[in-house]
């Protein structure tokens, strides 16, 4: 199952959902990187994510770095409590632009 990407006026939104574990993070990574190829700002909607592990976090980190290189705005929206906890464990909560949900 792949993730939905929607197009707004200003940005692309990647809607991650469900459990982003080692089984599904390659899909998430693909969706994130291909959205960044567009050149417009990318918003990652985390509202439907119930679980994320280190491989999911790694996908976000890789996308963040790619965005930074290409000077593209990259932000995480609707970040739930569980996901935020994992991001803070990785000390990434201060690095990502996070809009809590």
């Amino acid at each position: 199952m792949s993730f939905r990407v929607t197009e707004g006026d200003q940005a692309l939104t990647v809607h991650l959902s469900g459990e982003i574990d080692l089984d599904r993070s390659p899909e998430a990574r693909k969706a994130l990187l291909s959205s960044l190829a567009d050149g417009r700002p990318v918003v990652v909607d985390m509202g439907e994510v119930s679980y994320i592990d280190s491989s999911g976090v790694a996908s976000l980190v890789e996308a963040y770095q790619r965005a930074k290189e290409s000077k593209i705005d990259f932000s995480l929206h609707r970040v739930g409590e569980r996901v935020l906890k994992v991001l803070s464990l990785a000390r990434l909560d201060s690095i990502f632009t996070i809009v809590p949900g």
Binding site: L22, D23, V86
Partner: protein, 586 residues
């Protein structure tokens, strides 16, 4: 009985008296009303009519063929007189008989030479037809045939005699009585035929019922139930215990209903039984049945089927699903997981990867596994609604505390007495595998092993690992958050085994969760080459790069991470310990 009754009627020569008619009419009507053998009765009655009405010959024709069919004919069934014309067939609108039938009224012809509708019959061996009296056999609007009298016998002087209007009335009345008798006899015949079919169906249903496994012992882990919608069924289930303690099971649904589906069901079931004894490997077993079925399957028919093997010692099921409704696993937290079919139904002759159906390995971990046919999801509940797969979860949930065998009965009872489709259910209660509830309760109190499970080392099993760990943690009184933290730590440890231990190759992981005082201990044993501990140090967090986070999570989310000496033959043994919070320690 018919002969004796007719015999009691003394043959009185026709004298043109009403009394003679009435006697004949009364006697024959009584006879018709009581007859069991319509052909014999008609033959005797026709003889009696010919004698009484002094006809030289008489015949009775019945219509054969459907109305409007050009092949419809009047066929002579019974005759008396010098020539036997039994079997003679006339077009339904031909001759005087056809006219009587079309007009639904008696016809009297004094001299056939003067009637242009008259068709001279052939093959009468010199018998000459001079006059005819003919009456239709009809019941309400339905026309059945005609009865015909030919040539009034000459009187003693040899002078020609003719049929009279009085004779016409008498014959019309007799014909009406005969028609009613014929109609009743036909009705009886069709009822006898229906009764015979009903009995055949009952015998077939009994044969099918005998193919199903006997009711299982109350404390058995696997139970099934099958209810046909009409006599015979297109569904079946089976439960075959193997000598090593494992149990092979199957549940299938043949497309369509009725006798054809029932026959294909019997064939599929027989194939299953004969192959299951040799091939306890669900994916190959299904492929074998598919190959056999395809050789002789009727066009447009197919079978959806789940075949699996339950291992009560390892608490796991291995199953393959050929186009059937997704099986449901209810875990010990009460969460439902479904497993949609990986391959199409049997009988469609599909190309299979590696000539086998895909297999799923599912650790049941004390949960329950449910299989059902669409007679359940698409059946009608007492309130007329269709449960669907959501509704099925509701039905299961409503009876979840009942013993397994009764649970199926009670779920089936929701579908009422009149089923729309065959209904078949099967469940595997993994909790029953541990010899009863009491022992499980004792085990829980002494808090020894909460989970002991071997899991394939593949990424799609990680979700199941998390569910198992969460369930064990919640069972020990931990909060949802605490359980999620431990599950994440164990997930990361398993990822390391899959990625760095087995490096994507096939393998297995032994997972054990124990409760020791106020601590949960998760032990992971793998059979991959030993990992140097230095490789597993957490990364420096100020160094921003993907990967390397997993080990850090394991340390951050537990109280202790230890590599222990692995058991003989194993590669690595990791122990994660996490202290339960104060408030959750009983």
């Amino acid at each position: 009985m018919s002969a004796s009754l007719l015999g009691n009627l003394s043959p009185k020569p026709y004298a043109g008296r009403s009394a003679g008619y009435l006697e004949l009419l009364g006697g024959l009507m009584e006879q018709f009303a009581q007859t069991q053998d319509i052909e014999q009765t008609l033959k005797l009655a026709l003889q009696r009519i010919a004698d009484t009405m002094q006809a030289e010959a008489a015949s009775l024709f019945l219509l054969e063929g459907a109305p409007g069919d050009s092949r419809r004919r009047l066929v002579c069934k019974v005759c008396v007189g010098p020539s036997d014309i039994t079997g003679l067939a006339l077009p339904e609108n031909s001759g005087i008989a056809g006219r009587a039938l079309a007009a639904n009224a008696a016809q009297i012809v004094a001299d056939v030479r003067l009637d242009r509708d008259f068709v001279p019959p052939s093959g009468l061996d010199g018998f000459v037809v001079r006059s005819i009296l003919c009456a239709p056999l009809s019941v309400r609007s339905e026309r059945l045939g005609v009865v015909e009298l030919i040539n009034r016998k000459p009187c003693g002087s040899g002078a020609e005699q003719l049929f009279t209007p009085e004779d016409t009335d008498l014959l019309a009345a007799l014909a009406a009585a005969a028609a009613l008798a014929i109609s009743n006899a036909r009705l009886t015949q069709s009822m006898v035929e229906q009764e015979r079919l009903r009995r055949e169906l009952e015998l077939a249903a009994a044969v099918q019922r005998n193919l199903l496994p006997p009711p299982q012992a109350a404390d058995a882990a696997v139970h099934g139930l099958s209810r046909p919608a009409r006599g015979v069924s297109g569904d079946f289930y089976d439960i075959l215990p193997l000598p090593d303690g494992r149990i092979v099971f199957a549940l299938a649904d043949v497309s369509g209903k009725g006798m054809n589906a029932a026959l294909v069901m019997v064939k599929t079931h027989t194939l299953f039984r004969s192959w299951a004894k040799r091939l306890a490997d669900p994916g190959r077993l299904l492929a074998r049945i598919e190959a056999e079925l395809c050789e002789t399957m009727s066009f447009g028919m197919f079978v959806t089927m789940v075949v699996g093997i339950y291992d009560p010692h390892r608490h796991e099921v291995r199953f393959s699903n050929a186009g059937h409704e997704p099986p449901l696993w209810r875990d010990t937290l009460g969460i439902y997981h479904d497993f949609p079919a990986g391959d199409p139904p049997l009988g469609i002759q599909c190309k299979l990867e590696n000539n086998r159906y895909r297999e799923n390995v599912l650790p049941l971990a004390g949960g329950t596994f449910y299989l059902y046919t669409d007679g359940a999801t698409e059946g009608r509940l007492a309130d007329g609604t269709m449960p669907g797969s959501e509704g099925m979860r509701g039905l299961i949930e409503a009876h979840v505390d009942e013993p397994a065998a009764q649970r199926l009965e009670h779920i089936a009872a929701h579908f009422g007495g009149e089923l729309r489709d065959d209904l078949t259910l099967l469940l595997i209660d993994d909790a029953a595998a541990d010899c009863g509830v009491q022992r499980r309760r004792r085990q829980r109190r002494s808090a020894a092993v909460l989970v002991s499970q071997t899991i394939p080392a593949s990424t799609d099993q990680l979700k199941i690992v998390r569910r198992l760990v969460e369930a064990a943690a919640r069972q020990s009184g931990a909060s949802i958050d605490w359980a999620a933290d431990l599950a994440l730590a164990v997930d990361e440890a398993c990822q390391n085994i899959i990625r760095h231990g087995y490096r994507g190759c096939e393998g297995r992981i032994e997972l054990r969760v124990r409760r020791r005082d106020n601590q949960l201990q998760v032990e992971l044993v793998d059979f991959a080459p030993s990992v140097k501990q230095d490789d597993c140090k957490g990364r420096r967090l100020d160094e921003l790069r993907p990967g390397g986070l997993g080990t850090h999570f394991m340390h951050a989310l537990t109280d202790r991470v230890r590599f222990l000496l692995p058991p003989k033959g194993a590669g690595n043994r990791l122990l994660l310990s996490k202290n339960l919070q104060e408030e959750s320690v009983p």
